[in-house]
């Protein structure tokens, strides 16, 4: 199994059996060859098409087919938008900060975090676009944009963040691209090989290259962390600069950031679990990883619970009528949603991960699932009940305007967006190794080149 071709002699000093075997292990994932994989992709594409149909129906009939009306003008679309954007900040923060802290244990999951960031940054804006009444005028946001508007801030911020995260992901991918380019798992003339060659930019694992790459990665990691916090705060400010009771809160910025990282970490755990199961990566993603990320989830759950409690305690204790209308509403019409999101969503992860005996891979993943569901409900509870209890009580309007109930159009587009999210993830894992190959060679006792990438 030497398989080392002569014209790869340049790479001999880097590649060897272990690395080849690593590639051979990952390579099968890179090809769509299992029945299950194919079926999965077909399911996702179907879901996406359902979403497209919902979108077509909405464009054809107008926004009247959604459940939104003159009082509750923002519904499921905005909730999904905030939710998906939130996932991305977890990826950015985790990838960025773990990189800067140079932790060794996080290597296998970094790639997943980076891909999570980019994919959810692409899906999030799709949902906000669904909420816009005149899609044909979307470009007005750029040519007529007003700087005073939080939506303009959001447009600028998301664009900046997306580009930054793509650059960061790319920087992380370069060494793996190089390895894939040099491996012989793929035919030389295949499109994959060509793509890898282009994307690798002629990188070699030498000190020269590594110095440049390291510097760039450090810069981008720091910027990504800052940008992620700013972008999600801007999103929070879209709500908090209005005067609506329930939104006009000073801690919305930090609250949203914490909730975002929390939900993103939950999704990250789920992604870890899925990939581990499907691609049999038990050797690389161990219980230790789950525990470490789980502890991160625990800390974030505590912060999230703290912010939520602080927010609602202030509203409830003070006697302002608008706040008390909102609290009454939350505890009457939305009681179960409130319990699941703010109690279960905090306590269950705390308990499961807090007790070392309870920590298993499956239980931690379960906690992550609860976290994700709870956070989607939390977003819903932030957006919709406030709009149902405005300053002026809703009067002299038709009864159907009083409450918001989402319609099939909104759910079908949610399904479509989620399917697209999973689809992009799946396709990404087919194209790049889902675990960083480059870093792993150090574990196997192979002498690294001087000044490797850390």
């Amino acid at each position: 199994m030497t398989g080392i071709k002569t014209h790869h002699i340049l790479k001999i000093k880097i590649m060897d059996n272990t690395e080849l075997s690593l590639i051979r292990e990952f390579a099968p994932q890179l090809k769509i060859n299992s029945k299950l994989g194919q079926a999965w992709i077909i399911i996702l594409i179907t879901g996406f098409i359902i979403g497209l149909f919902g979108l077509y129906w909405q464009i054809h009939k107008g926004h009247v087919v959604t459940g939104m009306r003159d009082y509750v003008v923002w519904g499921v679309y905005i909730v999904n938008f905030i939710f998906f954007m939130g996932l991305s900040y977890a990826g950015a923060l985790i990838a960025g900060s773990l990189h800067l802290m140079k932790t060794a244990w996080s290597k296998p999951i970094m790639r997943m975090a980076e891909i999570l960031t980019v994919v959810s940054l692409m899906i999030g804006p799709l949902f906000i676009i669904l909420c816009i009444g005149r899609l044909d005028r979307l470009y007005y946001l750029f040519i007529f944009g007003r700087i005073q508007s939080p939506i303009t801030w959001d447009v600028i911020a998301i664009t900046t963040d997306l580009i930054g995260c793509i650059i960061f992901l790319y920087l992380a991918l370069i060494p793996d691209m190089a390895i894939l380019r040099d491996s012989d798992e793929f035919k030389d003339n295949s499109w994959r090989k060509k793509l890898y060659r282009i994307l690798a930019l002629g990188y070699q694992d030498t000190p020269e290259f590594n110095k440049i790459l390291n510097r760039s990665k450090n810069i981008m990691a720091a910027i990504i962390i800052a940008i992620a916090i700013i972008v999600y705060s801007v999103l929070a400010w879209i709500f908090s600069v209005t005067l609506q009771p329930g939104w006009h809160s000073a801690i919305f910025g930090p609250y949203f950031v914490i909730a975002a990282v929390y939900s993103g970490t939950g999704v990250l755990i789920i992604v870890m679990w899925l990939y581990r199961k499907i691609y049999h990566l038990e050797a690389y993603i161990t219980k230790e990883h789950f525990v470490k990320v789980g502890v991160l989830l625990l800390i974030l759950a505590a912060f999230f619970g703290y912010f939520t409690f602080s927010e609602y305690l202030t509203k409830w204790y003070g006697s302002e009528k608008n706040d008390s209308f909102l609290i009454d509403r939350l505890f009457s019409d939305y009681f179960w949603m409130f319990i699941i999101s703010n109690y279960a969503g905090v306590i269950i992860p705390l308990v499961i991960i807090g007790f070392p005996n309870l920590r298993t891979i499956n239980s931690i993943t379960f906690a992550a699932i609860i976290c994700v569901i709870a956070l989607w409900f939390n977003r819903y509870l932030i957006v919709v009940p406030t709009l149902e209890t405005p300053f002026l009580p809703i009067q002299d309007s038709r009864p159907e305007f009083l409450n918001y109930s989402s319609t099939w159009v909104e759910w079908s587009t949610t399904l479509g967006g989620t399917a697209l999210f999973c689809l992009l993830f799946t396709l990404a894992s087919k194209f790049v190794p889902i675990i960083e190959v480059y870093g792993n060679k150090a574990k196997n006792g192979i002498p690294k080149s001087d000044n490797p990438i850390t």
């Binding site: 340049l10 790459l213 760039s216």
Partner: protein
């Protein structure tokens, strides 16, 4: 034979009688139906002496149903001096969209007056399919009126002098009349006071809370409204400031509201400067890092090319 004659004459008479009744009945029904289906017209006839000394006579033709006015549009109204006849015809006019038929006369125009200096005008409307015919008349004497502003020892007054022109051009002071004072505003005229006449003179103290326009100009209208003898008389003084050489700031009786339109505001098209500057600083900071990294990538690309060339495959 004579009996027969009587009987036949009697029959004929009875027949005539009943046919007359019959005819009357049907004619009456048909005519009254015509009459009932028409609306009872009302007409108001007014004389106006305007503030540019021109004169106007207005006839408004309308009906009222359920307390709602319905104006007759595009109908001809004839104006006569007194009885309706060709030589008495003054003029005719057509009603506009508001049902008003209007005759305008220049300042020099002299009406035909009777010996006691009254002018009698009658207006006739001949009716149409939905309006009955109507006429109205008016008797009035023309009034000479002038409006003055006086300032004595710092107290400002508006003074009106009104008199009738006698036969020998003497001035006969107005006897009894109420006069109202108005300030013309954008949508309507605002009343600021009223007074009555003593020996042809009337005055009010100029109110001290009247707003002028943006440069402090103000106009005053004085009107005698719906007088039984004089009709409507209006005179005005426009665009004055008290003591024209005085600067506005010293004139405390005229309120001037400053109009300031901000050039930058949160809600304005132009953003506050600090926002623009902050945004530029932030964006430059972030994107400069991006551009730097992209250049680094280019450097890697260049290095890669160099390496490939310098180390040929064996």
């Amino acid at each position: 034979m004579e009996k027969l004659k009587f009987i036949s004459i009697g029959r004929i008479l009875v027949g005539v009688f009943f046919s007359i009744l019959f005819t009357l009945y049907f004619v009456g029904i048909s005519y009254s139906q015509n009459e009932e289906s028409k609306f009872r017209t009302r007409m108001s006839l007014d004389f106006y002496s305007n503030n540019d000394k021109t004169k106007t006579i207005k006839a408004t033709v309308f009906t009222i149903k359920d307390r709602i006015r319905n104006y007759a549009i595009n109908e001809k109204v004839y104006f006569y001096y007194g009885e309706r006849s060709d030589e008495n015809l003054l003029d005719s006019a057509t009603t506009d969209n508001n049902g008003i038929a209007q005759l305008d006369f220049p300042e020099e125009f002299r009406f035909l007056t009777a010996e006691d200096r009254t002018i009698s005008i009658t207006a006739y409307f001949d009716g149409n399919d939905s309006f009955t015919e109507k006429s109205a008349d008016i008797n009035f004497i023309e009034l000479e009126m002038e409006l003055l502003l006086t300032q004595i020892d710092g107290s400002k007054t508006i003074e009106v002098r009104a008199y009738e022109k006698g036969i020998d051009d003497e001035m006969i002071p107005v006897k009894i009349a109420d006069i109202s004072y108005y300030v013309p505003r954008y949508f309507s005229d605002q009343k600021i006071g009223e007074s009555d006449f003593t020996v042809g003179k009337s005055s009010i103290k100029f109110p001290d809370n009247i707003a002028g326009d943006t440069i402090g100009n103000i106009s005053i209208l004085a009107r005698i409204e719906d007088h039984s003898i004089y009709g409507n008389v209006e005179r005005s003084i426009t665009n004055f400031r008290w003591g024209t050489t005085q600067p506005i700031e010293d004139d405390k009786s005229l309120m001037t509201i400053e109009i300031t339109i901000p050039t930058r505001a949160l809600w304005h098209t132009n953003a506050p400067l600090w926002m623009i500057i902050t945004l530029i600083i932030l964006l430059t900071g972030v994107w400069s890092h991006y551009i730097y990294v992209i250049f680094q990538l280019k450097k890697i690309h260049g290095l890669g090319k160099k390496n490939k060339l310098s180390q040929p495959a064996k």
